[in-house]
């Protein structure tokens, strides 16, 4: 996260490859389910044995003795509807919820986050020299309407995308944060409204950032968990 601060985001998970190296983020939506982005994975039926998610720790590479750390292997990957760029990861066993590990709510189906809603991005990715890369960083971003976003982008932003407004000081997701949450506070609950996807903008001052709009895929998410 560029322009963020060390913080607490108990639903943000670190996805690790077989060497234990963090490569993408994700969000814990149920004890045994994580949402991330398709771009982080080789295929929709990739063999992810040896891959795991790490939860409950603020440190990118906590000591093995860290009492809060949970590392849970990934059982399988399921790709979302073609245009969604979302994936769901089923974990081998449920995560234990506690002070450091929590679920994030899913939005109501087709819910549109009001403009200027304050949201947060979180991740263990690059800070571009703006912060401490050994810990989880969090940054606040306000939601921007698709109409305004389309004007700034000089092109139509799709309904399935959600924009956040650019801040004067560059703030945004960067390498290693992809797949992580855009969490917005609604009715005193943090809701997963967006998923960070790779883009050419890494906290550019004059450009809005775009996320996958999760509310359009809530029916799919629930269906996958149910089936």
């Amino acid at each position: 996260i560029v322009g963020g601060r060390p913080g607490n985001s108990p639903w943000t998970v670190s996805i690790r490859n077989r060497e234990g190296v963090h490569f993408c983020g994700g969000s814990l939506v149920k004890e045994q389910w994580v949402i991330s982005t398709r771009q982080c994975f080789s295929s929709c039926d990739a063999d992810l044995s040896g891959y795991e998610v790490q939860l409950g720790t603020l440190f990118k590479d906590p000591k093995p003795s860290d009492p809060d750390k949970q590392a849970i292997p990934i059982l399988k990957i399921i790709c979302g509807p073609s245009e969604s760029q979302l994936v769901m990861l089923k974990l081998v066993r449920p995560a234990t919820l506690n002070k450091r590990v929590a679920l994030i709510c899913l939005p109501p189906e087709r819910y549109i986050v009001p403009e200027n809603t304050e949201c947060e991005i979180a991740g263990w990715g690059e800070t571009r020299g703006t912060g401490d890369e050994t810990v989880l960083n969090v940054a606040r971003l306000p939601v921007m309407s698709n109409k305004k976003c389309s004007m700034v982008h000089r092109g139509k932003v799709k309904d399935s995308e959600l924009c956040t407004a650019p801040l004067k000081a560059g703030v945004g997701a960067c390498e290693g944060d992809y797949g992580g949450p855009l969490a917005c506070l609604t009715h005193d609950c943090w809701v997963l409204e967006g998923v960070t996807t790779p883009s050419r903008v890494c906290a550019r001052k004059d450009q809005p950032a775009t996320f996958v709009r999760v509310s359009l895929y809530v029916d799919w998410i629930n269906k996958v968990m149910k089936m």
Partner: protein
């Protein structure tokens, strides 16, 4: 610090059973550790393999292998099967005196004479348990430099070499040997390899079950980390790992999909010219060591096409990547390269959400055949012709009985994929109403709550 298991090839969750009714006394199961079992089996010439019961720690020595008559491999989660390498390998180590394979034809195609016979050729070699002169298999009881041989059944040709290749020559490696699955188990300096499934004498991250596609079998040389060549951890505590000597194939294999405008799978075949990371940082040239030092020198990784500073995936990472020109950032992915379409071509279309689709498409977007709506296997459907009689759930045709906003779907014949969307697209010109309007009430349960005090003292 060699393990006694090094003499064996293992098969996890497998038991070797005899189909003949009477088994010899050797077959009884004795409790002992697996290393002890291996030691005892190695010492006994009549033991060729053993079943090891992981649950009861029982050792069952066997006078046969899977290649023997009247035996059968059977899946059994409690057992691991260990078979002596000499009986399993189709190649030789050194002069091949320990070769116990089943080759029985000479280099010129002549059938071997049975060792117990002295006709058509009389000889002085009498079979014993120790020398392995059984049936008419090629053997090397006299340390012949040309390896295993036999007397032939041709009266005019007394004996002939069987021309069994040395293990280092039997299987060649292409590229950097990531695909090498041969039987070399010594390094180029002659050290014996450590088994991948053991953490002694060297602790390492390459546990075989974490890397199922790398075939980290026994203690054979492999290249799971895209090193220059296959290698292994050695059984010498003073030497962690070493390369193995393996012949390079003359012909290059071109198994991976080469792409230039997009990338497939992990992008190991990506040969395009994108040379910046996802967020636009220029890549470092592969042939320079500044600002980052690395071992991916283009000459050593010829088939990885490490040209200029293009994004590539020479090490099986998640996607094409590069070293960046920023001293503070060593590597970064090039996720901005789009993925090639990995979906099948579609022939049909649907209107709206496809709830009225009555076509005959019956495969998913990945090309997997749909399960019949009335069947109970491989998936037990929650939606069926009984539960949704008006939804026209015919045969295995794609339908949308639950008005899924992402279109018609079906249960799939792939046991790992309960359901998926179909290879159908929305019909052209169909207007999809915008969703940019607010939904009604928002109610949440226990999710989305956090201890805000942790936020303040996060550090």
């Amino acid at each position: 610090q060699c393990s006694p298991l090094n003499n064996f090839q293992s098969r996890k969750a497998t038991e070797l059973i005899s189909l003949s009714l009477q088994g010899p006394a050797l077959m009884s199961e004795e409790p002992m550790e697996v290393d002890e079992c291996a030691k005892r089996c190695t010492a006994r010439p009549d033991c060729r393999a053993f079943n090891y019961n992981q649950k009861s720690h029982g050792c069952q020595m066997l006078p046969w292998t899977q290649h023997s008559a009247h035996t059968q491999l059977q899946r059994n989660v409690y057992y691991d099967l260990y078979q002596k390498k000499d009986y399993m390998r189709d190649c030789i180590v050194g002069e091949g005196t320990s070769y116990r394979g089943m080759r029985s034809v000479t280099e010129k195609g002549k059938t071997c004479q049975q060792w117990r016979l002295t006709f058509p050729h009389d000889h002085r070699f009498s079979p014993s348990l120790q020398n392995g002169l059984e049936v008419n298999y090629c053997r090397n009881p006299d340390r012949d430099k040309r390896g295993p041989w036999c007397y032939t059944t041709d009266p005019d040709v007394r004996y002939q070499s069987c021309n069994i290749k040395k293990c280092e020559d039997a299987v060649c490696m292409s590229c950097n040997g990531e695909d090498y699955r041969g039987f070399v188990d010594h390094t180029e300096s002659g050290r014996e390899c450590q088994r991948w499934d053991q953490q002694h004498p060297h602790k390492h991250p390459y546990e075989p079950n974490k890397y199922p596609d790398k075939d980290l079998d026994d203690n054979y040389c492999r290249n799971p980390d895209s090193s220059e060549r296959p290698w292994c951890y050695t059984t010498d505590p003073a030497r962690k790992r070493e390369f193995c000597h393996i012949r390079k194939c003359k012909k290059r294999s071109r198994l991976m999909d080469i792409t230039t405008n997009c990338f497939k799978q992990k992008g190991e075949g990506y040969r395009g010219k994108v040379n910046v990371t996802t967020t636009g940082i220029p890549c470092q040239r592969w042939d320079t060591q500044m600002p980052h030092q690395h071992h991916f020198v283009p000459e050593k990784y010829e088939c990885k096409d490490l040209q200029e500073n293009y994004c590539r995936n020479p090490d099986g990472s998640e996607a094409p990547w590069c070293f960046t020109t920023l001293p503070s950032m060593r590597v970064a992915f090039c996720f901005q390269i789009r993925r090639c379409m990995d979906e099948v071509e579609v022939e049909d279309c649907y209107h709206g959400n496809g709830e009225l689709y009555r076509g005959h498409t019956s495969k998913t977007r990945k090309g997997v055949t749909c399960q019949k709506w009335s069947e109970q296997s491989p998936h037990v459907p929650q939606i069926s012709p009984t539960t949704h009689p008006a939804a026209h759930l015919e045969e295995n045709h794609c339908r949308n009985p639950d008005n899924d906003s992402h279109g018609p779907w079906c249960y799939t014949m792939d046991p790992r994929t309960p359901f998926d969307y179909c290879a159908i697209k929305p019909c052209a010109g169909d207007k999809i109403p915008s969703v940019l309007e607010n939904a009604g009430n928002v109610v949440f349960d226990e999710c989305g709550k956090r201890d805000e005090r942790l936020q303040l003292r996060g550090r």
